[in-house]
Symmetry: C2
Subunit: 494 residues, 2 copies
Amino acid sequence: MFEIAELGHTVSKTDYNEKVPTLRTQLLTIQQQLSAYNFSVIILISGVDGGGKGDVINLLNEWLDPRYMRTNAYDSPSDEELERPKFWRFWRTMPAKGTIGIYVGSWYSAPIALRVHNDITDTDLQLQLTQIKQLEQELADDGTLIIKCWLHLKKEQQKKRLKLLEKNPETAWQVTERDKKHLKMYDDFASVAETVLKETSSTQNPWRIIDGSDIRYSSLTVGQHVLDKIKAHIETHELIQSMPQPTQSPQIIHGNQPKILDSLDLSLELDKKVYNEQLNFYQGKLNKLARLAHQKKISSILVFEGWDAGGKGGAIRRLTHALDARNYQVISIAAPTDEERVQHYLWRFWRHMPRAGRITIYDRSWYGRVLVERVEGFAREQEWTRAYSEITNLEEALTDHGIVLLKFWLHIDPDEQLHRFKQREQISYKQHKITEEDYRNRDKWDEYSLAVNDMVARTSSQTTPWTLVEANNKRFARIKVIKTYCEALEKSLD
Amino acid sequence: MFEIAELGHTVSKTDYNEKVPTLRTQLLTIQQQLSAYNFSVIILISGVDGGGKGDVINLLNEWLDPRYMRTNAYDSPSDEELERPKFWRFWRTMPAKGTIGIYVGSWYSAPIALRVHNDITDTDLQLQLTQIKQLEQELADDGTLIIKCWLHLKKEQQKKRLKLLEKNPETAWQVTERDKKHLKMYDDFASVAETVLKETSSTQNPWRIIDGSDIRYSSLTVGQHVLDKIKAHIETHELIQSMPQPTQSPQIIHGNQPKILDSLDLSLELDKKVYNEQLNFYQGKLNKLARLAHQKKISSILVFEGWDAGGKGGAIRRLTHALDARNYQVISIAAPTDEERVQHYLWRFWRHMPRAGRITIYDRSWYGRVLVERVEGFAREQEWTRAYSEITNLEEALTDHGIVLLKFWLHIDPDEQLHRFKQREQISYKQHKITEEDYRNRDKWDEYSLAVNDMVARTSSQTTPWTLVEANNKRFARIKVIKTYCEALEKSLD
């Protein structure tokens, strides 16, 4: 597949000097246009050592307007990065909509290097590529334009280039021991690269292979490619925007689906005495387990969802009572900030991923996408329907990293909810919790029920199960929550 | 000074259980009020080991609403934190306005521990305390309420408490080797603590010393103290808000001040040939020096300020041409995002501080406070006048950390500016750079001149000098910028 990039393309200095000003003007102009659109651009520059990645990146930086662009170099991960799932470092530096992020050493570097050095098997590589494809697909679904450039060199060229670089004291530093090792492994490298490129080239996110033997040629080609891709993307984007949107997404009726929630026995309860005993017991147990988990650097993520007034806050408070405040944080999900609004909807959750041995508790979570955003029409149908797999992928990344992930749905019935609303209105410091909106949401109980059922059905798996909590009785619910977390920690500490 | 906290205050269980619900309601109510105000609250919980810091913090977390509050535990710094000035870790987690941040192990932990273990001298300690006082003053000036609680124990009490904790298998883990060492050093610790508390207690940011011998007493006292302080702060805040503001801050005329900028020789220029030679030479030199600096983990911060159309962008591009795009980032300062708006004005600059061996280039910077914000009246007089020392403190923190800091003012005269405006209007991809506002700003040339002169006079020091760049001739300016950076790197590599 690299043949086309081995033809030895060159551009003369005169030609180059003639073409650059026009290209630069066009790039700056398109960048200005881009800043008005709500999608971001990710440019990956990869390729063989000596293929001129550094030069191309430096030129792009020179040509583009730094106000709407940022270059991220991912060399060895920092300890803060190592403590989180592997894609965290890419999420934390994701470009905002309307801007460009150039990625040097992207998510492709590690899997290729690992496979070339035989540190992972072909099967591992395939798995990693699947995860990469999922990530790219999710970004593309969100409108992100991913431009992937591969700078290629023939074996003899690479040899020559590295020798040339090494001979010149000005550039010798660019040739590392790793490069020399890679040179020896050229064939292995080329074969792994070929697999990776083939596997991860899709119509939406294709690779562009570029002859890296002449810097002028490769820079101009990358620059032109970036320009063309952004232009085309803007056109498609406008086309999509101008298409008539259904005013209301059609309600999908899953007539035959068993209603999971209906099977919950909401009459379950604990009397005060038993509750106090069990609370004491399980809080003590949790305290010990959490301390152990902290020592062993096992992190936890606890997701709390449930009906309004379902008792999330109270359950969280009883749970955190047993924890050391230095090790957990409660993230309450409300309206996104403007920095969050110009990112993929999962970005705001990625930013709070716990460090090793810590706990993040989400009071409402990414499930908002398939609950409130679905029911209220804040997300389009295609957005919330694809969210199920996006969420599944996210949660797999978390559990793969060894994080203990628990998801609680606190379930009450409409009568109990009304009762609690009325109660809250009587308590001064809880009055603010009750608004007109809460009453309006009650009218959509059936729609929300449907959404919850779908959510549980589609996002509960062996490794990421939902814990459905019978919460008409607060005492019963709180104990179930703490006990469930205890059991999960015990399992992970085994 | 600890006598008052050695009286052995206690609260009975009955009393405690009676008082907590009221206190909690009041805390939740004040927290809701607080969320509407544009100041933040920082609660520092410090004190002797075994003084119950952990218990108090856990209770505060239980009592307060997690939506408007966050607990930050500063144990050993991560590598990303170690690579930046020491206060960076506190800035990165600063609470937003309207919210509370509880700090466990704050900026006081390190200096106290270091002094007790004789790792720093009294003089060092004093210096660190001065920096702390400056930080607290700056936060307080911005409206931040800092509540500092010190939990105290008598020597015998500490001994008893630690023994008690150690005896109980449930709590033995809380007693670390460090604690036991500290116990032996109780007298040293008490004496250092006394110095620190005395030195850093001001009318605005006083310490509250609390008897830590009884958890119920100390928790209630801290809770009540937090409540009272926030209440009082809201009242003061409202009072200040309701005071009549002068519609226009009076223009200060520094009649006798020598005009530093007027002494610049704007006729300085370079012809094209010399420029090309020197550009080549200095870019080559810079490339080598920057590489060395990267290897030696020396970071740089370059600040670019100057008149509109002064040539900042062009100078930055010629400079970055010599750098590896993987190691630098250009931060263009435009309108703050809403996450930035709810923070101290320096916060948005702290977030971009470079990691070890990297370079951050600010295209406009914190100097906006004493330039555009002063002239356009976006900052009140008291705000921009105190900014000089805030900026000086910031820059000292940077240079103390070993960062190479350079500040460039690109100076042109009004005629040259007009000429460039007209030119820009002719170039398609530069047209967007020229707006009505640019012409309006020209009318305020004299006011801006005054502001620039004041800025240079007040913020240029031996360690943080301004480089005034004669920029009527772009070629001359660019060479001067690159050359200056070369010299600074050479000096730091010596």
